[in-house]
C-alpha cells in the first residue's frame, strides 16, 4: 500500500515546484562559496584557523542557503504528500483503498509514506548543499582548535565529529531525515484537523516561530533547527517534540477509527 502511495505522489505535478526551490538554494550556496564568507575564510581571514570544507560545513557555519532552508523546509516537507487524507476524502480514493485494506493499515500507510517522502524532500537539498561544499572547498584536518562555531556544550556528538567525520555526517543526515519526517507528519495532522489541504504548509512554521517567543518552554527555539542543525535539543525543545508526537499519534488513531467529518 505504501508503494501505491509513492506512485500516487510521484505523479503529482506540484512536485515540480520543489525543483526551483532546490535550484535557488544551490545557486545561493555556490554564491556563498565563491563570493562571500566561505571563500574569505579559506583565504586569509584568520591566520590561525585552518579553514576547510569540514570546518565551514553548513550546520556549523550556516550559509544563506542553509538559513533559507531552515524556513522553507516546513513548506518543502508538507508539499508532496501532507494532504493525502484530504484528497482521499474529496475523491473516490478512500473507497478504493477500503476495498483493499483495513482502515488501520490505510491510515498507517499514509502516515508512513508521508514521513518517508517528507524526510527525503527535506534532506535532499541539504545533501546537495553539502556535496557542493565538499566538491568546491578543500578539506583539512579538524581539531577543536580550528572550529569556531561548535561549542562543546551545545554540539551534538561532539567527539564523533573529530574522530569519525563521515559517520558523524551520516548520523546528522539521519537526524535531519527524522526531523523533516516529523514535521511532515505534523503538517499532515494539522491538515486533517482543519480538513484543509493548505493550512499544513504554513501553520507548522508559525507554531515553531511562536515557540521561540514562549518563555515557558525556554530553549524550545532549538526545535526550529531540528531539521538541519547539529545542536543538542534542550528540555523545552524535547517537550515541544513530544507534544508534536502526541498530536500526530492522536490524529493517527483518529484516522484509524475513521472519525471523519
Amino acid at each position: 500500500m505504501i508503494r501505491s502511495d509513492f506512485y500516487r505522489v510521484s505523479k503529482r505535478r506540484r512536485l515540480w515546484l520543489l525543483l526551483p526551490i532546490y535550484l535557488i538554494l544551490l545557486v545561493m550556496e555556490l554564491n556563498s562559496i565563491f563570493t562571500t564568507d566561505m571563500a574569505q575564510s579559506l583565504q586569509d581571514v584568520d591566520w590561525f584557523v585552518q579553514a576547510g570544507s569540514r570546518t565551514i560545513w553548513p550546520p556549523l557555519f550556516p550559509t544563506k542557503a542553509y538559513l533559507i532552508h531552515q524556513y522553507l523546509v516546513y513548506f518543502i516537507v508538507a508539499l508532496p504528500a501532507s494532504d493525502l487524507f484530504i484528497e482521499d476524502a474529496k475523491t473516490q480514493f478512500l473507497e478504493h483503498y477500503q476495498m483493499h485494506a483495513k482502515r488501520e493499515k490505510y491510515a498507517l500507510s499514509h502516515y508512513m509514506s508521508n514521513f518517508i517522502i517528507a524526510g527525503l524532500a527535506g534532506v535532499l537539498p541539504l545533501l546537495c548543499i553539502s556535496w557542493l561544499d565538499f566538491m568546491m572547498v578543500p578539506s583539512v584536518g579538524t581539531h577543536p582548535i580550528n572550529m569556531n562555531v561548535l561549542p562543546a556544550d551545545r554540539a551534538y556528538l561532539y567527539d564523533l565529529f573529530f574522530d569519525h567525520f563521515w559517520l558523524y555526517f551520516f548520523i546528522v543526515q539521519i537526524r535531519a531525515f527524522l526531523g523533516c519526517g516529523l514535521i511532515g507528519a505534523f503538517s499532515m495532522a494539522i491538515n486533517n484537523t482543519f480538513h484543509n489541504s493548505y493550512v499544513g504548509y504554513v501553520l507548522p512554521l508559525f507554531i515553531m516561530q511562536l515557540s521561540v517567543e514562549l518563555p515557558v518552554i525556554g530553549d524550545a527555539y532549538l526545535v526550529t533547527e531540528l531539521p538541519s542543525s547539529v545542536s543538542k535539543i534542550g528540555v523545552g525543545g524535547w517537550i515541544f517534540v513530544l507534544l508534536m508526537i502526541a498530536f500526530i499519534l492522536y490524529d493517527v488513531f483518529k484516522q484509524m477509527k475513521g472519525n471523519e467529518r
Binding site: 586569509d44 584568520d46 591566520w47 590561525f48 584557523v49 585552518q50 579553514a51 576547510g52 556535496w131 565538499f134 566538491m135 578543500p138 578539506s139 583539512v140 584536518g141 579538524t142 581539531h143 577543536p144 582548535i145 580550528n146 572550529m147 569556531n148 561549542p151 562543546a152 556544550d153
Partner: protein, 177 residues
C-alpha cells in the same frame, strides 16, 4: 531503475575522484603535541619556555556587554641566535587561544615599555607574561590553547598547512560572571 543506479554510481565515483584530487595537497591531520607544562619549543635559535598558564574572569567587554577572561602565559624567551629579535616577531609565532576565537593582543607594557617595540638582544633571555583577554563562554570550563606557528606571520599560506599546536588544556573558569 538500472539506468538510474548506473548513472548515480558513475556520479558517485566522479565525486570521490574530485574529492580526493581537491584534497590531495591539504593535510588531513592537525599535528598536536600534548605535553604538561613547562613546555619548550625551539626554532631558529629562539626558544620559548611556557611555565604556566592561568585564567580568571576579570571584567566585561563594555561595547559588546560580554564577560571577558584574562589569560596569562608565563614565558621565558631565550634568544640564542646571533641577531636581535623583535618581541612581536617572536610572539607572532606563539598564539594563545580559546574556543571562541575571540582573543586579543598582548595587553600590558613591560617595565613601562610598549611590547610592540621590545627587542630581545642576541644571547639574552627575557621573562615575560603574555596577557590576553578572551570572551567568556557560557560554560564552567574553557579550553586554552597554546599554539606555535613554525613559519613567520607573513607567510600565511604556509602557516595554515604547517601549524603546530604545542600545548592545550582545559581550565575551569573561576569567579564566572
Amino acid at each position: 531503475m538500472k539506468k538510474f543506479v548506473a548513472v548515480f554510481a558513475v556520479f558517485l565515483l566522479l565525486s570521490v575522484v574530485r574529492y580526493q584530487t581537491l584534497n590531495a595537497d591539504y593535510p588531513q591531520d592537525v599535528e598536536i603535541e600534548e605535553k604538561t607544562l613547562p613546555v619548550t619549543y625551539e626554532q631558529d635559535g629562539i626558544s620559548f619556555t611556557v611555565h604556566r598558564v592561568t585564567m580568571d574572569t576579570v571584567t566585561r567587554d563594555e561595547e559588546e556587554d560580554k564577560p571577558l577572561i584574562r589569560v596569562v602565559a608565563h614565558l621565558t624567551i631565550e634568544n640564542e641566535s646571533a641577531e636581535d629579535v623583535p618581541l612581536p616577531l617572536v610572539l607572532n609565532q606563539m598564539h594563545l587561544n580559546n574556543f571562541s576565537k575571540t582573543f586579543s593582543t598582548i595587553q600590558p607594557p613591560i617595565d613601562g615599555d610598549d611590547p610592540e617595540e621590545i627587542v630581545i638582544p642576541a644571547d639574552e633571555t627575557i621573562e615575560f607574561d603574555a596577557e590576553y583577554l578572551v570572551a567568556k563562554l557560557n560554560q564552567e570550563e574553557q579550553m586554552v590553547y597554546l599554539a606555535i606557528i613554525p613559519e613567520l606571520y607573513e607567510e600565511k599560506y604556509q602557516e595554515k598547512l604547517e601549524q603546530k599546536i604545542l600545548y592545550y588544556e582545559t581550565i575551569p573558569v573561576e569567579g564566572a560572571l
